[in-house]
């Protein structure tokens, strides 16, 4: 009995020393990042390749949620909440309602991919974009924060309502213009 307990004790001690040696918390953090980054890419591929445009919209929403989880995993709580609230909620609803406005006989083939030339063009454009993004990612002198930034919302409020007050009010005007323009377009579509 004592022998077995000693064995278990040794095993636990070995596991702890291993966890310390390999810095398990940061390994878990990396694992969480790669999990959600992979899921986001998978769902993004689903947006492109799924045949049914409603399924594409669902996949896009899943991508938004995965990106929100990425924000949460780097302690950007406010960004994560905004991502879920605005993109996972409102934008997803807007996209589904826009699909509901269209008239189709069969939703099963509503998101077709056509022709060799379109595929080649898409490959070239997305390849160039990837190159550009890679160049930015490699050449930018990113600095990691020395300590966790904490809650971002109060700092945002201080900047937004003092130094950046004009852009803040311009954002309101932008939202107003977007709403009026959309209503004009939609009412025009309704009348014709």
């Amino acid at each position: 009995m004592n022998e077995a307990l000693g064995y278990v004790h040794g095993l636990v001690g070995w596991a702890f020393s291993l966890a310390e040696a390999y810095d398990v918390p940061s390994l878990i953090g990396a694992g969480v990042f790669f999990l959600f980054a992979g899921l986001a890419l998978l769902f993004a591929c689903g947006v492109v390749f799924l045949r049914n445009v409603v399924h594409s919209a669902l996949s896009l929403t899943a991508t938004f949620i995965c990106v929100a989880c990425l924000y949460l995993s780097i302690d950007a709580d406010f960004m994560g909440a905004v991502q879920i609230l605005v993109y996972g909620g409102a934008v997803a609803v807007l996209i589904v309602m826009a699909i509901m406005l269209t008239r189709r006989d069969d939703m099963a083939h509503s998101n077709p991919s056509r022709g060799l030339w379109q595929h080649a063009g898409a490959a070239v454009v997305s390849g160039l974009f990837l190159l550009g993004m890679a160049a930015v990612a490699v050449l930018s002198p990113f600095q990691s924060a020395p300590q966790p930034l904490g809650d971002a919302a109060p700092g945002l409020a201080d900047l937004m309502l003092s130094h950046y007050v004009l852009p803040f009010e311009v954002a309101a005007v932008l939202l107003l213009i977007a709403m009026i323009g959309a209503i004009l377009l939609a009412k025009g579509a309704e009348e014709s």
């Binding site: 949460l72 406010f78 605005v86 919302a153 109060p154 003092s162 309101a172 209503i183």
Partner: protein, 117 residues
């Protein structure tokens, strides 16, 4: 990230419950599909027409107004968090912000975007 670990665990357990209820049902169910069984279920009555129809533009207008005020909420939240420290100037700024968006709501109302015909 620690506090979100608990949240992730919660989601995982919440996922296990329905899945563990569905898997035995999937394994044990007798499979005798007939044509009637395979039609979409619509409250017990036969489905009429196609599943996908063109919806009215009213739904879309509601979604648009919703998204604008959703974004407004995002701006309101940091202000509310720092309300005690920001003072009168910030209060006036925020009321200007809300007033500008209220103009949009008034426009939508006037144009009949909110009326449900």
């Amino acid at each position: 990230m620690g506090e979100y670990g608990g949240l992730g665990l919660f989601f995982l357990v919440a996922l296990i419950f329905p899945v563990s209820a569905l898997i035995p049902a999937f394994l044990l169910q007798p499979r005798q599909p007939t044509k009637e069984k395979r039609i979409p279920y619509e409250c017990g009555v036969d489905t009429v027409g196609k599943t996908y129809v063109q919806y009215r533009v009213g739904y879309f207008l509601y979604a648009l107004v919703f998204i604008v005020f959703d974004v407004e909420t995002v701006f309101l939240y940091p202000w509310a968090v720092r309300f005690g420290h920001l003072g009168l100037f910030a209060l006036i700024e925020m009321f200007i912000f809300i007033a500008i968006l209220a103009v949009g709501l008034g426009y939508a109302w006037k144009k009949g975007a909110l009326s449900w015909k």
